[in-house]
């Protein structure tokens, strides 16, 4: 301590202090912005990467280019991470059926093993968001807090009841019922299609877990008030009131007045 206080007037003391400060802030920043790496619990073998490379060349390279560097028909996949591959391929969105406003969900074309191999290959190109750890996708968080996060961050596109909604020019936010917890988590970290990325600084992994819990809860709760008419709000309610409600009443009025002219 004495040595330190004696050296405080040293010509290089300011430089040393500056260096210390930079290392400290830089280190803290790196620690704060790299929690995606800690979610990486899946390990890929070299064989996985090798197989994934072959699958990629056969099925994806037409659009995404050799080495996944991208082409005019498809973006570069360097750095998108395993989570992105697991979401896009796992939900059947990739390989894309046809060019359109956005990739449509369809039955997955690759099995789990192949999806994992493709993910391994893309993850090997550059670091990126990894497939989430089990602890964040178990649906064991706080549904009420998840609901608040969902309404503030997600409901404007996905609808407050997660029934989906329209975006511009034929794009849309899909309904979230029936989507697996892993895929919901991966969508939040990777921002597929037109979805923005909700990184861990924006919504913490625990927050994402709460959102998943909220979605599981409302899906399992069912509709307390009877058939939910698509949970689409006043439009489907109005349509139902006019067609079914008034329709039945008109049938009754015709019945009541049918005996006379």
């Amino acid at each position: 301590m004495k040595a330190l206080s004696q050296k405080r007037r040293h010509p290089l003391a300011a430089v040393a202090l500056l260096l210390l400060g930079l290392i400290l802030t830089g280190g803290l920043y790196a620690a704060a912005t790299a929690p995606t790496a800690k979610a990486d619990t899946t390990t890929y073998t070299a064989a996985d990467t090798e197989e994934g490379s072959k699958l990629f060349i056969a099925n994806c390279a037409t659009c995404h280019g050799m080495g996944a560097v991208g082409s005019p028909s498809g973006p570069s996949l360097v750095g998108v991470g395993a989570a992105s591959v697991d979401f896009q391929v796992g939900t059947g969105r990739m390989p894309m059926e046809n060019q359109g406003p956005q990739a449509e969900q369809k039955p997955a074309q690759f099995n789990e093993e192949q999806t994992k191999q493709l993910a391994a290959y893309v993850a090997s190109l550059a670091p990126g968001p990894a497939v989430p750890a089990e602890e964040y996708t178990d649906g064991g968080g706080n549904a009420a807090e998840g609901g608040e996060l969902f309404r503030v961050n997600c409901a404007m596109c996905h609808n407050a009841a997660a029934a989906g909604g329209a975006l511009t020019r034929g794009k849309y936010a899909p309904a979230l019922a029936g989507v697996s917890n892993e895929h919901i988590y991966e969508a939040m970290v990777t921002g597929p299609q037109n979805m923005p990325v909700f990184n861990d600084a924006n919504i913490t992994p625990e927050g994402k877990r709460d959102i998943i819990t909220f979605l599981n809860t409302i899906e399992n709760n069912g509709s307390p008030g009877g058939a939910d008419l698509g949970a689409l709000g006043p439009v489907s309610e109005g349509l139902f009131a006019w067609v079914a409600g008034l329709g039945v009443i008109i049938a009754f009025t015709i019945w009541l007045t049918s005996r006379t002219s």
Partner: protein, 558 residues
């Protein structure tokens, strides 16, 4: 004389004695005799007013139940009820009590759903009732004022619906109020002041739910009840209209008396309506407020719409562009006291279409009266086809409304039919202008074509589908004459001719009169005259219907 009555009449039964006691004191029997013998014509399309009345009664009953448990306070609280996904969430007392009605009060959710479904059906039946009155010409003399009362009831029912929609203070209703706030603020100069006055400060404030509640449960229902009383009183005074038919004219009403058949039917119909609404409420969710969460000015959910009856105004707002041909529709105007914003992109769509619809709606009976110069009383209705221009105007207005109505669901149209939201908006913008024109032309042609068909049938009979080969090889289809009752409907209508300019007392034709004559030509230029007795005679005696005629003769001979 009264003593004589009292002494001579002795009711035999207990009920008779009680009613006699009451009757001697309040004199109900003459009223009952008068009302009980009131004759009403029978037609299914005459029953929508009844549906509106009954759904309103249901609204009063269920609404009273809801007031027992609803607390319109905007004070903050933490939810501690039984709906798990909202446990521990901060919200207003109003929203919390709405959730309690839904989840913690026995029968509360059912009552809420009966109330809401009933509200949707109430406005729908009012709207259909009004369309029926318009398209059959029932607004003509002497019923113009009752039409105005009806129009007022439409506006009141919209107000009742909207104030109710806003009460739960959930995200959906809060978004609706935010739009109202925006519309109010777009009023030039005074908009901000009115908004601050309405909300008790900057939106959302902590006063609006309580204020809307007072309007919703007190003022608006009271005025609606008063208007219903006036409406029904005028129906009794004017007597009910009837569709054209043999033996029906402007001097009589053909139908059944109120008592006993109609009283029983109407009473039963109330329970049918109640039953239908109860079934809907029991099996189908309406306004799942627990999905939307508490109101907070920051989030806006996708699929946020008003209830159907406000949809057309929301749709007009959605259709309005913010920029037009490179010019912004929002202007900042420097005035001596500072810069004021003129937001035409909000002001125009919010006020102009609704202004047009309601102005034309209220004024229409007088517009038509002025053009036709028809000052006679009408108690026999027009079949819509027999007033082609009126029907066409009505359909144009209906289309105008429906385009805006559809625009309120543009996002759902886009997602459910897999089309681009932008394209939906562009098409609806085009239809907003072209739609009414197309509807006018098409409707008028359809009405005229139907009139021609009626005339054809009246003159030559209906097609029987029987093809007969004549001795010289020609094939003809046998036509059978319709019976006299059916024919009456086909020929018993008026088809006025255009009324040319009439000189006034000064011997001049005024500009207004010229305009009137021109409109009269628009109204009546294209006309299909009903078959006259002479034409019918000539046609039926005509030689080229020998077979049909002989068929008829055979039928007569039977």
């Amino acid at each position: 004389m009264s003593t004589a009555t009292e002494s001579t009449y002795r009711p035999a039964t207990k009920v008779g004695r009680v009613t006699d006691f009451v009757d001697q004191r309040v004199g109900g029997s003459p009223i009952l005799r008068e009302f009980g013998r009131k004759v009403f014509p029978d037609h299914w399309s005459f029953m929508f007013g009844e549906v509106a009345l009954y759904t309103f009664v249901i609204l009063l009953l269920t609404g009273t139940f809801l007031t027992f448990f609803f607390d319109p306070s905007m004070a903050e609280t933490t939810y501690a009820g039984s709906y798990v996904p909202l446990k521990g969430v901060d919200m207003s007392v109003a929203y919390s009590s709405s959730l309690n009605i839904s989840f913690d009060i026995r029968g509360g959710l059912f009552m809420r759903q009966v109330h809401h479904w009933s509200a949707l059906l109430f406005v729908a039946s009012v709207a259909v009732h009004m369309l029926r009155v318009f398209f059959t010409g029932a607004f003509r003399k002497p019923r113009e004022l009752n039409w105005v009362v009806g129009g007022t009831l439409v506006i009141l029912s919209l107000a009742a619906g909207f104030t109710g929609y806003s009460l739960p203070d959930d995200l959906l209703s809060g978004n609706g109020l935010r739009i109202i706030d925006g519309v109010v603020k777009s009023i030039p100069i005074v908009g901000s002041y009115i908004s601050f006055f309405l909300f008790g400060g900057e939106f959302p404030g902590s006063a609006i739910i309580g204020r809307l509640y007072v309007l919703h449960i007190l003022l608006i229902p009271a005025i609606i009840l008063l208007m219903i009383a006036i409406h029904l009183f005028m129906v009794v005074v004017h007597k009910h209209t009837q569709y054209p038919g043999p033996g029906r004219n402007d001097g009589n009403v053909v139908g059944y008396p109120l008592g006993p058949v109609y009283a029983a039917k109407a009473g039963g119909f109330f329970f049918i309506v109640f039953g239908v609404v109860a079934l809907m409420a029991a099996a189908f969710t309406i306004n799942p407020i627990w999905n939307y969460g508490p109101y907070d000015p920051s989030p806006v959910s996708a699929g946020t719409q008003p209830d159907w009856y406000i949809g057309w105004v929301d749709g007009a707002l959605r259709l309005m562009p913010g920029w037009l041909f490179g010019f912004p529709l929002e202007w900042h105007i420097p005035l001596p006291w500072g810069v004021n914003t003129l937001s035409l992109n909000v002001l125009l769509p919010a006020l102009v279409p609704a202004g047009i619809v309601f102005t034309v709606l209220f004024a229409y009976p007088w517009i038509e009266r002025w053009i036709t110069k028809d000052d006679r009383e009408h108690h026999v209705l027009d079949r819509p086809r027999n007033a082609p221009t009126r029907t066409a105007i009505g359909m144009a207005g209906f289309t105008f409304y429906c385009v805006m109505w559809a625009a309120a669901s543009s996002d759902l149209v886009a997602t459910h039919f897999h089309v681009s939201l932008n394209d939906v908006t562009y098409w609806l913008r085009a239809l907003f202008f072209i739609g009414p024109v197309i509807a006018y032309a098409v409707t008028k042609r359809i009405a005229l074509a139907l009139q021609r068909k009626d005339r054809e049938i009246a003159l030559h009979g209906r097609e029987t589908g029987r093809i007969v080969r004549l001795p010289h090889g020609e094939f003809i289809e046998v036509h059978a004459q319709v019976d006299d009752y059916k024919r009456y409907k086909l020929v018993g209508f008026e088809s006025p001719e255009p009324l040319p300019e009439i000189v006034n007392s000064d011997g001049k034709v005024t500009q207004a009169e010229k305009l009137r004559a021109r409109l009269s030509r628009v109204f009546f230029e294209d006309r299909v005259a009903p078959a006259t007795p002479a034409e019918l005679e000539a046609s039926h005696a005509h030689g080229d219907h020998e077979i049909a005629e002989s068929e008829n003769l055979k039928e007569v001979a039977h």
